[in-house]
Symmetry: C2
Subunit: 245 residues, 2 copies
């Protein structure tokens, strides 16, 4: 898939949003923007017919998703060879208290991305991935760090998955009751949920004079994590990816 020429991911039985299809979106911009606003995903895969749902940090580069882990992990050993997987990200934006049980709900933004995972074996692609798994969240940081050793690089497995299908599902309407229920004397509300940053906690063992570098400034107390992560993405890929890609 080339993002410049394909505005939407293809839709078929696997990724079509069936339940509440009015909430489904397949355009690349919506899908990628959600993928770029989060650090945590959950990956579904199956081993011998048993499904697993594993949380992990991940990042996107073009139409490829990347995540990493130990070379010894169950997931990575089993996903290495083109196994089908589904990577999902979800923002829980509110709990919705309606006037009947049926209309209780939540506002959320989620993406399900489908493809086949493979291990990144080629040295140059792996080297770049190990840089971007840090710099995608903290642009410029790798250049400030102690260099990785060969043993560390060997011990880190990187998985990539070309997005073959994807769907976004968004609910953002708060309380939505049946028309005839609004006149009832029943309290209803939208209860917002935010994921935010706390005050950065500098390592207690910093040598004297080592200050917080300026490239971390966008990660500040009280800021929404999705905003900080989205901003970092824009900086990290400003020169390497077309706008909207």
């Amino acid at each position: 898939m080339t993002t410049e020429t394909t505005p939407s991911y293809p839709v078929d039985e696997i990724n079509r949003v069936k339940r509440r299809h009015d909430r489904g979106r397949y355009d690349v911009n919506t899908v990628h923007a959600l993928l770029d606003s989060t650090a945590l995903c959950h990956v579904a895969y199956a081993i011998d017919g048993q499904p697993y749902c594993t949380p992990t940090l991940y990042w996107r580069e073009g139409s490829r998703l990347y995540w990493h882990g130990s070379s010894a992990s169950r997931m990575l050993r089993n996903l290495a060879d083109g196994e089908p997987a589904c990577l999902t990200v979800t923002h829980l934006d509110s709990l919705v208290l309606a006037r009947c049980g049926f209309n209780h709900s939540a506002d959320y933004r989620s993406v399900m991305a489908f493809g086949r995972a493979r291990l990144v074996n080629e040295a140059e692609e792996k080297e770049r991935a190990l840089v971007m798994m840090v710099d995608r969240f903290f642009p410029g940081r790798t250049a400030q760090l102690r260099q990785s050793t060969r043993a560390e690089i060997k011990a880190t497995a990187v998985v990539t998955m070309e997005i073959e299908r994807a769907s976004a599902k968004i609910r953002a309407k708060g309380v939505a009751d049946d028309d005839e229920d609004y006149e009832l004397p029943i309290y209803a509300e939208r209860l917002p949920v935010y994921t935010v940053l706390g005050a950065p906690q500098a390592c207690a063992r910093l040598p004297p004079g080592v200050a917080r570098p300026g490239n971390l400034a966008s990660y500040r107390e009280g800021r929404r994590l999705d905003d900080a992560v989205t901003e970092a993405y824009g900086i990290a890929y400003a020169e390497t990816e077309p706008v909207g890609g």
Copy 2:
């Protein structure tokens, strides 16, 4: 599994924490406490060999997990018949910026629960589930609502899964660098991440005089969602479940 007599979930190849096994926990109290501190989970299941990872609200009752959805949903139609599934919850507690790329990490608390999903068909069990999917988060709320109609009950499918295996995985140590790296002039920090409640947004169409009921008081601006959800669980099940169950 009876929680009174079994302090831990059984461990085998499916749920053993392999990567960073020092972070693995299998005792029922740890697993249940984490399951009871969240509203959002991700469920992994497979249809025709294709894994899916679906976000949903869920709740626990004893050693059973429950979630719901439309009777028309892909997941529920396919999970109804004892299909294996994995339900995972994750709190992202921090991003960890270390002195080398390899030690960049995150603090988190997660549970993976394994079992076989089945549709709740029996009328009494379904009725109770439809009450608890609201009252588990907002104790006492169902009694304040417009009663569910038969059409609503029919349109709501409830899935349950007896937890056969489970594992918790917890990282809570912030920066953890190699000993020889602490003297390097490199900045390192723990960047806390919190999921919190915003100010409740009352429905704009409330009739005059309808006030926020007192049983919602624990959901207040600035509170951590996990604390509010845990407190609600304790109230909702105070009289129906043994302590530690």
